[in-house]
C-alpha cells in the first residue's frame, strides 16, 4: 500500500514539475524597468515625507531646497528611463 501511494505521489509531482518543459515559452523581451520603478517609488515617498517634514518644521529651508533638488533629479532620471 505504501509503495502504491508513494508511486502515485512521485508520478503526480514529476508531471507537475516537468509540465513546463513541454510548453512553448519565449524568453521575455520586455525592457527591464524594475530598477527605475523602484527608484521612482522611493522618490515619490521621500518627497511626500519631505513636504511633511518641512511643514512640521523638522527641516530648515536650505536643507529642504537641497534635498528636494536631489530627489527631483533622481526622480526625473527614473521617469525618463521609464518613458524610454
Amino acid at each position: 500500500m505504501d509503495v502504491v501511494v508513494f508511486c502515485v505521489v512521485l508520478l503526480a509531482l514529476a508531471a507537475f514539475v516537468a509540465r513546463p518543459l513541454y510548453e512553448r515559452t519565449n524568453p521575455s523581451r520586455a525592457t527591464d524597468h524594475r530598477e527605475a520603478v523602484a527608484e521612482r517609488d522611493v522618490v515619490v515617498r521621500a518627497l511626500r515625507d519631505l513636504e511633511i517634514d518641512r511643514a512640521s518644521g523638522a527641516v530648515d529651508e536650505a536643507t529642504y531646497e537641497a534635498e528636494r533638488a536631489l530627489l527631483e533629479d533622481r526622480g526625473t532620471r527614473a521617469v525618463r528611463e521609464l518613458d524610454d
Binding site: 509540465r19 521612482r40 518644521g57
Partner: protein
C-alpha cells in the same frame, strides 16, 4: 517507510530545482548580468520548490499522524508522547526532540522556498533564478540530516505499550507556538541571504534589491521577535525562577541574528534614500544568516549546556560545515563584487538621519558581538585552559544596559533629525517638549517605585516614546494644514501613505514601553516561606491565607494544589493556586506557577515542596514590578511591525507607465 521515501523525494526535487534554475540562465557579456534564456526550465525549477514543500509537508503529516495515533513502533513517537498526552501537547511533541525539530526546520524552509518561488512578483523576478539554488541548497542540507543521521522515522524492534510522554517542562501553551515562531525567524534569515547572493552574482545591488530584501528581512525579524518574547513568557510562567530572560546560550543565539537584522532594517533605509552603506547591508544580511545557523549549531551540537539544548548529537560538525560554507561563500562574494558596491553619495552631516542610523548600526552590531563573545567564552576558555569560564546574567546586564540606553537615545534623536543635514539648535528645540514629557514619566515612576535607577531608565525610554508620539502629532498637524484635512483624517492618511515610517514609530513606542517593564526587574524582591493549611503569612504588603492543599492524581501525574487567599487587611482581593506535580514517566517534580498580574507588579508564587504527612508546604514568593508593561509593549511593537510590513498594501504601489510623471509632478 513512506515518510522516509517522501524525504528522499524532497531531496531529489531540491537538487533538481537548484540545477535547473542555474541552467535556465546564461551570462550576457554585454550587460554583465545573467538573464533567463530558458524560462520553461526556470518555471520547472519553481515547481520543484513547490514539490519539495509537498513532500516535506507529507512527511511531516505522517509523523503527526503517528504521534496522534500513538504509533509507538516509531522510536520518536515513543520518546515524545504517551497515551495520556492531551491533543495540544501531542501536536507540539512534533518538535520536542531533535529529529522532529529538524524536520520542522525543513518544513518551514520549504514553505519559504515554495512561497518565494511560486508567488510571482515583478520586483522579485530578477533575483529568483539565483536565489532558488541557495534556498534549495539549504533545504538539501536540512533534509539530508533528517534523511540520514537524524531520522524521525526510525522503528523500534520491540514496540512499547505506552510512550514516555512530553517532558513536563514543555507542558505549556507557549510550547505550541514559541518554537515554530523562533524557527520561522531563524530559518527565514536564509531568504534575505539568498537575495544577497543573487544580487551580488547578478550585479543588482540598487534600490530594487534593497526593497525586495527588506520585505523578506521583516518576516524573520517579526517572527524571531515574537518567538523571543514568547520564549520569555514561557520561561516566566513555566520555569519557576521568576524571570523571563536568563542570558542562556540558546536565548543569546536567537537574540544575535535579531539584533543584526534589526540593524539591517535601519541601514536599508540609508541605502534606499542615499545610495550608501551597500557593503554594510550585504555584510549585515550575511552575518544575520550565519548567526542563525550558528544558533542551530549551538542548540544541536551539545557544546554548551542550556535548558533548550538537545542531547549531544553527531550533527554538530555538519552544522559547522554548513556555517562555514555560508560564511566563506558570503564573504567571498562580497569581496568579488566590492567594486560594484561603492556608495553613490557622501554620507552627509553628522547631524543627520543617515549618521544616526550608522551609529545605531554600529551599536547594534557591537551588542551582538558582546553577546557572541559572552556566549562562546566558555568554549574558548575550555580550549585554552581546560576549564569553562561562564559569564552569567550580571555580566550581560552590566555591559548591555548602557548600550540599550544609547540605542534608545539614538532612536529618540534619530526620529527628530532630518535626512541630509540638521542643525543642533533645531534638534534641541524639538527635543524640549519630549524631554519634559519624559521627565514627567520619570517622576511618576519614582513616585510609584521609589527607585532612582528605574526613574532614570523610565526617563530614557520615556524620551523615545514621547519624541515619537510628538513627531506623529506634529506631522499630523502639518498634513492637516497642507491638505486641508481634519486631524483624524490627516493622521490616518499619514499612516496609510507611509506605513513603513509610521509602523516603525509604533514599534519604537512599543520598545520604549517594554524597556520601562525591563527596568522593573531592578525592584524585584523574593522570599521563601514554609506554611501549613490554615496559616497566614505576609509578603510585599499582602497577607496570604493558606486555605487548603488538594492532592489528587490524573493519568500521567500526581498533583498537589495549594489554595492561597490574598488579603489587604481584611479585604480579600484574589486567590492563587500554585501546583507541584510529580510526573510518573519522568520521575521528576514540576511546578505550575500561580501569577497575579497587575500594571504595578506581579505576585508570583511557586509551590516548591510539600511534606506528604504534615502538609507543610514551601512557597517561593516573588514580587516582580512592571512585568505587565513588557508584554503590553511587545504586543504594540509587533502590531507596529505588522503594520509596517502589510499596511497600505491595498494601495497601488507601482502605477502603470504613464502615471509616474504625473504623480511626481503632483507631489
Amino acid at each position: 517507510m513512506i515518510g522516509r521515501g517522501l524525504l528522499g523525494l524532497a531531496i531529489a526535487f531540491a537538487v533538481y530545482a537548484g540545477i535547473a534554475s542555474i541552467c535556465a540562465q546564461t551570462y550576457d557579456k554585454a550587460t554583465r548580468q545573467w538573464s533567463v534564456v530558458r524560462p520553461e526550465l526556470l518555471t520547472s525549477a519553481r515547481r520543484a520548490m513547490a514539490a519539495v514543500f509537498v513532500c516535506v509537508a507529507g512527511a511531516s503529516g505522517i509523523l503527526w499522524y503517528a504521534l496522534f495515533s500513538r504509533d509507538f513502533s516509531y522510536s520518536y513517537v515513543a520518546e515524545s508522547t504517551a497515551r495520556g498526552t492531551v491533543p495540544w501537547y501531542t501536536f507540539s511533541s512534533f518538535w520536542s526532540g531533535m529529529q522532529g525539530s529538524l524536520l520542522l526546520w525543513a518544513l518551514i524552509l520549504s514553505v519559504y522556498g515554495c512561497v518565494f518561488a511560486m508567488r510571482r512578483n515583478k520586483a522579485r523576478e530578477p533575483f529568483v533564478a539565483w536565489a532558488i539554488p541557495v534556498l534549495a541548497g539549504a533545504e538539501l542540507f536540512y533534509l539530508s540530516l533528517a534523511f540520514g543521521p537524524i531520522d524521525p522515522f526510525t522503528r523500534l524492534d520491540v514496540v512499547p505499550s505506552d510512550g514516555r510522554g512530553l517532558n513536563p517542562l514543555l507542558h505549556s501553551p507557549g510550547m505550541v507556538i514559541h518554537p515554530p515562531m523562533l524557527y520561522t525567524g531563524l530559518i527565514g534569515m536564509i531568504v534575505p541571504f539568498a537575495l544577497v547572493v543573487s544580487a551580488l552574482i547578478n550585479r543588482r545591488t540598487g534600490t530594487e534589491w534593497i526593497r525586495v530584501t527588506r520585505v523578506w528581512a521583516m518576516i524573520p525579524f517579526l517572527a524571531l521577535g515574537i518567538g523571543l518574547v514568547l520564549g520569555g513568557a514561557w520561561a516566566y510562567t513555566e520555569l519557576g525562577w521568576g524571570g523571563y530572560w536568563g542570558w542562556d546560550p540558546v536565548e543569546n543565539a536567537a537574540l544575535m541574528p535579531w539584533l543584526v537584522i534589526t540593524a539591517y532594517l535601519h541601514s536599508a533605509m540609508v541605502q534606499e534614500r542615499r545610495g550608501n552603506l551597500k557593503i554594510w547591508n550585504v555584510f549585515l544580511v550575511t552575518l544575520a544568516a550565519c548567526l542563525a545557523t550558528f544558533g542551530a549549531f549551538l542548540t544541536r551540537s551539545g557544546l554548551l549546556s542550556s535548558v533548550h539544548t538537545f542531547a549531544q548529537s553527531p550533527i554538530g560538525k555538519w552544522f559547522f560545515v554548513f556555517l562555514a560554507i555560508q560564511a566563506i561563500g558570503g564573504v567571498a562574494l562580497l569581496l568579488w563584487r566590492l567594486p560594484d558596491l561603492r556608495g553613490e553619495n557622501e554620507l552627509g552631516s553628522p547631524v543627520s538621519k543617515e549618521a544616526m542610523f550608522l551609529v545605531n548600526n554600529l551599536v547594534f552590531v557591537g551588542a551582538a558581538a558582546i553577546v557572541l563573545v559572552g556566549t562562546i567564552l566558555p568554549l574558548i576558555t575550555e580550549v585554552i585552559s581546560g576549564q569553562q569560564l561562564q559569564l552569567g546574567p550580571p555580566f550581560f546586564n552590566r555591559v548591555l544596559s548602557p548600550i540599550g540606553a544609547i540605542l534608545l537615545l539614538l532612536a529618540a534623536v534619530g526620529t527628530i533629525v532630518p535626512w541630509r543635514r540638521g542643525t543642533i539648535r533645531r534638534v534641541t528645540t524639538r527635543l524640549v517638549t519630549p524631554a519634559l514629557v519624559a521627565l514627567a514619566v520619570a517622576f511618576v515612576m519614582y513616585a510609584v517605585m521609589h527607585r532612582l535607577t528605574i526613574a532614570g531608565v523610565a526617563y530614557v525610554a520615556g524620551l523615545l516614546g514621547a519624541t515619537t508620539i510628538v513627531e506623529i502629532v506634529r506631522a499630523t498637524r502639518a498634513r492637516s494644514r497642507l491638505a486641508n484635512l481634519s486631524l483624524p483624517a490627516a493622521g490616518s492618511g499619514l499612516f496609510a501613505r507611509n506605513p513603513r515610517r509610521y509602523g516603525g514609530y509604533v514599534v519604537h513606542v512599543g520598545v520604549a514601553i517594554m524597556v520601562i517593564g525591563f527596568a522593573g526587574s531592578i525592584g524585584r524582591v523574593q522570599t521563601e516561606v514554609s506554611s501549613k493549611p490554615g496559616e497566614n503569612f505576609t509578603f510585599a504588603g499582602t497577607t496570604f491565607h493558606y486555605e487548603k492543599l488538594q492532592q489528587f492524581s490524573v493519568p500521567d501525574k500526581d498533583v498537589n494544589l495549594a489554595v492561597l487567599g490574598l488579603y489587604h487587611g481584611s479585604h480579600r482581593y484574589g486567590t492563587l493556586r500554585p501546583q507541584l506535580n510529580f510526573h510518573r514517566n519522568w520521575d521528576q517534580p514540576q511546578s505550575e506557577i500561580a501569577i497575579r498580574m497587575t500594571p504595578t507588579a506581579d505576585l508570583y508564587v511557586i509551590l516548591a515542596g510539600v511534606d506528604a504527612q504534615t502538609q507543610a508546604s514551601i512557597f517561593r514568593l516573588h514580587r516582580n514590578p512592571l512585568v505587565f508593561w513588557v508584554w503590553l509593549g511587545a504586543v504594540l511593537a509587533f502590531a507596529g511591525g505588522l503594520f509596517a510590513l502589510f499596511g497600505g498594501r491595498k494601495r497601488r504601489a507601482t502605477p502603470r507607465a504613464p502615471e509616474p510623471a504625473r504623480e511626481l509632478e503632483a507631489v
